[in-house]
Symmetry: C2
Subunit: 270 residues, 2 copies
């Protein structure tokens, strides 16, 4: 099993908590890391979030998210890049391990054009992130999000972009929910050597109840989470493992019970 | 544009019609081919379906579907194979170009075990199909169906199974809805040379409203349908192109209007 020292609470799993509440809940349980979402950072203010995680003695495993590069007009694309610069600033202030990139979808410009806009956007972002000392992590999303969220859908595709940059600057964030179906997942993970900057777990329920809010607690789905975690470890990653679950039923539960269950299922299934 | 002589109505697009009504509606419009689903064949009886398509002078582009091989017990897997034999019989009686395989999902046995059951099931089915003179077409499904419907998710994966058998016995059925997101789709299609046995079109709406009933009419989504059709043509396929749309709103429409729109959007987008 993965050591509990690697557990990080991705705060989208317990969205009813403020950053401060989530940080304190982690600290009370000895969970050493937390991942923050930018809409939560905006809600509380960056300074307060920095204080909240520092006061709780927590490490920030990631900030979610930059990306969303494709847009129809040059002006919109420029605005998207500017927003990515702010995401870098926030990741730097929080001393996060990585800024997660959800690169953006194919609509309405078409998938080939969107892929080019993603490559262009990353090329523009890298120098800014480098000066801020922030690592970029490209996250391949499940292909069901290719239309609206991410034309980047496989580990290989992410790696081929990351490898255009120095190891320390651009890496990958892998999430079992997004990659478990891939017949080449294991070989692709093995090929990422030292490029993995984050690892996320949840599970894939059958049948899938929804597109966006589909994930379930580890063990309640069909993914071989431990097999993927071991493959990621073999590829040289030994950092935090975020539990990231977008699921309305779990969001409606008491967040303290959810976090207790996160710990329990992490021990059993990760 | 693709010639209208290649248009085939996959009857799931107009499920309110009986086989006979659908066949007659195609004949009235000069659509030369139709694809039948087995629950509809069961509803009307195989003999009546054969008469309906023959009386209308139609060609059957495919029977949907065999497959669904994985199951927990050997007894269930045996029942699934027997059901596939009946699917072959039906495809033979209808003189269909291909029997489409939706191979089955990862739940509950896990994706690796399910993949093995799929390979074993196909190996058992091929000799039976060969004696019946029925071609098998492996259809990679979108990865969002990997849990419950198809662990086969990419063109490459389908090709690597098909290539274990003679060209005439096992091929591929490609559907733009299932493969459009793949960064390697074009290369993978090019590699299939002479293995493609069917081609399906519809479109991918953004946002995706549902998992199963998500597809939309050609032109209402983000897929480069013509680009994929041209790639399939270059790989040596010149057979029927099925319009296969699972969408509740379209199912609720008058099927005659739907079929008229199928012809119009086929001409514009395929």
């Amino acid at each position: 099993m993965a050591h509990l020292r690697r557990l990080s609470l991705n705060q989208i799993t317990t969205p009813r908590w403020t950053v401060k509440e989530a940080a304190e809940a982690c600290a009370r349980r000895g969970i050493p890391s937390i991942a923050l979402w930018r809409h939560k950072i905006a809600e509380h203010g960056l300074g307060d979030c920095v204080s909240a995680v520092n006061d709780a003695g927590l490490h920030v495993s990631s900030v979610c998210r930059g990306g969303m590069f494709p847009a129809v007009t040059a002006e919109e694309r420029r605005k998207n890049i500017e927003d990515n610069f702010r995401a870098v600033d926030e990741a730097a202030a929080l001393n996060a391990d990585v800024l997660v990139m959800v690169v953006g979808g194919a609509s309405p410009m078409g998938i080939e054009a969107a892929r080019q806009m993603v490559r262009d956007g990353i090329a523009e972002l890298v120098p800014y992130a480098r000066s801020a000392g922030v690592k970029i992590g490209l996250e391949p999303l499940h292909p069901m999000f290719a239309g609206d969220r991410s034309v980047l859908t496989t580990v290989s595709e992410g790696l081929s972009i990351a490898q255009q940059y120095p190891l320390e600057e651009v890496g990958l964030v892998l999430d079992v929910f997004h990659i478990w179906w891939d017949p080449c997942a294991m070989q692709q993970i093995a090929a990422t050597t030292d490029r993995i900057r984050g690892f996320h777990v949840s599970d894939w329920p059958v049948p899938l109840p929804d597109v966006l809010l589909a994930r379930c607690m580890m063990g309640d789905g069909v993914i071989d989470i431990r097999g993927l975690r071991e493959a990621v470890d073999r590829a040289g990653y030994d950092g935090p493992i975020e539990v990231e679950i977008l699921n309305q039923a779990i969001w409606d539960e008491d967040p303290d019970s959810v976090l207790d269950r996160v710990i329990k299922t992490f021990e059993i299934h990760v």
